[in-house]
Symmetry: C2
Subunit: 330 residues, 2 copies
């Protein structure tokens, strides 16, 4: 047990030096065909696998990329993880998924962890972090890609472009004669406020609508918060006839509560989600939503990260277009 085969063993078996074994593995130096064959045979024979700890110590960099997200149980992030992994895998990079539960201390702990482990990079959807928290990473020379609306210091950015999609949503909502729009938004203390709310506010004006403070409720990005927020909105006078939600989980929570309260969806109130998480098409009526493609985000983040590892030093931003998905709740 614990028979560990080292490069030295392989080198001995193949009758070469460890340098040659290393070069066969990395391809960073030409190796004669016969030599390569011998080395490969020895590797197979002995069942050698490189010790990544030694490699990392030597190179000062691990092959792990951390993906830090607020909620793994949200299929959006699960998909993002899958997408990122798929993009990074061919490059020999591994993804370590970290769930922070939207907690700032957890978020920080993972950034710290990234430094400690000398991760190759970090892809993060920050929820309660500030630019200052990213100093740790930049000091350690670890590139970060942020999926958010604004960058943090020198980080690269993957950001949604939801304007057209939201405009389409509002067109549909107002087309059905609805005028009293509301939003169940994210928490007040989230990093950078709530861009989805800001966007809705801005667009509302263009549609001649208003979004008064009493029609904006705030809470976590969870089903429970959605239910609570919807309950509150239904208690307000001149209650809304259309409710935009911070994400699909929130919208589903709102649907739970609507059913409980006997409020008709979309008869009495239209409901618009965000993200198009896998369960959006699962509920009845099917949730109308604004799709933000986790796969596209993963791809973009991977590309940005790889460019950084290849030496790019200037900050870059990639916009990912959102898309209106009309279903049955408007």
């Amino acid at each position: 047990m614990a028979v560990r085969v080292t490069m030295a063993d392989v080198a001995r078996a193949a009758g070469v030096s460890t340098a040659t074994v290393s070069y066969v593995l990395s391809g960073k130096r030409a190796v004669a065909g016969g030599t390569r064959k011998a080395v490969e045979a020895a590797i197979a024979e002995l069942g050698f696998t490189v010790n990544t700890a030694a490699r990392s110590l030597r190179t000062g960099r691990s092959s792990i990329v951390a993906l830090v997200v607020p909620d793994l149980a949200n299929p959006f992030y699960a998909q993002l993880a899958a997408s990122l992994r798929e993009e990074l895998r061919p490059l020999g990079l591994h993804v370590m998924v970290c769930d922070t539960k939207a907690d700032r201390d957890e978020e920080r702990a993972y950034l710290r962890e990234a430094v400690q482990q000398r991760f190759a990079g970090v892809v993060i959807t920050p929820f309660r972090l500030t630019a200052k928290d990213f100093l740790l990473l930049s000091e350690a020379g670890i590139p970060a890609v942020v999926s958010a609306d604004l960058p943090f210091g020198e980080t690269d950015l993957v950001t949604p472009d939801a304007r057209a999609a939201m405009r389409a949503a509002l067109t549909e909502v107002t087309g059905a004669g609805r005028r009293r729009i509301a939003m169940i938004a994210g928490p007040r203390d989230a990093t950078g406020g709530d861009p989805r709310l800001e966007l809705l506010r801005a667009l509302a004006v263009q549609f001649g609508l208003s979004l008064p403070g009493r029609l904006v409720v705030r809470g976590e990005h969870t089903r429970e918060a959605g239910a609570a927020g919807f309950a509150h909105l239904m208690g307000v006078k001149h209650r809304p006839d259309a409710v935009f939600c911070a994400n699909d989980a929130v919208a589903i929570g709102a649907m739970d509560k609507a059913e409980e309260l006997g409020v008709g969806i979309p008869g009495d109130v239209a409901l618009i989600g965000h993200d198009d998480a896998s369960f959006a098409s699962l509920v009845r009526p099917r949730l109308t939503t604004v799709r933000y493609s986790a796969v596209d985000v993963g791809r973009a983040a991977a590309r940005l990260l790889v460019e950084r590892l290849d030496g790019r030093v200037t900050r870059r931003t990639v916009r990912v277009k959102a898309e209106f998905v009309p279903r049955e709740t408007v």
Copy 2:
């Protein structure tokens, strides 16, 4: 940038040796109060974080535990990940979640990876692996905990005890006068067959029912496979009036198809899921299912793993009881 602070820096600043710094960190040797204070101050001052690559190289073991699952998008596994992480975190162990998409090559690749990275341990829900594949791990001295029905070689095991729950399900199904039960089971080539199917078969006999081959359909553990399986079952003559599903995703797929086909649930056909994934209570009618607690599995796996790391050498098995959750589809 890339200012890396090493233990030597800390030692110098505190006027001690690196050994002392190391012992302050690990607590493996008594250190005088004053010395400890000085070291801690220096660590804080310089912002030192230990280089885990060096540590791993030296100790021959990383602090990462791999959690290898067939489908991260399934909330059951997302929950399992969260649970495992929570249990292992206080021990300084980190969880790396690996999604294999139920593919054997992926599963193997991750076991290989575990060896390469000298992971502290592996927790895995194998889908198409055989005992032989685990040799790699045992040779490298890496403990594995398997979440399945049977162990693989020397691995520890967390296994479901679903007999009582399934019996309750059958009682409810037959109580409603249903006699023609069917199952949309897992793929034929899955490791260890399909224990949920075997259990259903065994229990059916006790209820004086039969589960003929034409009423057993096989497919992946996905919504799509569920839809396809259900479509097939609806085409069979003497079609079933109760369908058990390999997991909840499969059951949801069956519901999709039932709606499309105009088959009433539970009016025409009763539907029973498995796992109680978060979306089981989301669909309408709400899915009746057999709950298998991911949190309990995570806890058990963590405990087994830690015992191994503490030196236990004999194989252990922990049973986790499943529970019947009657909702609206029977």
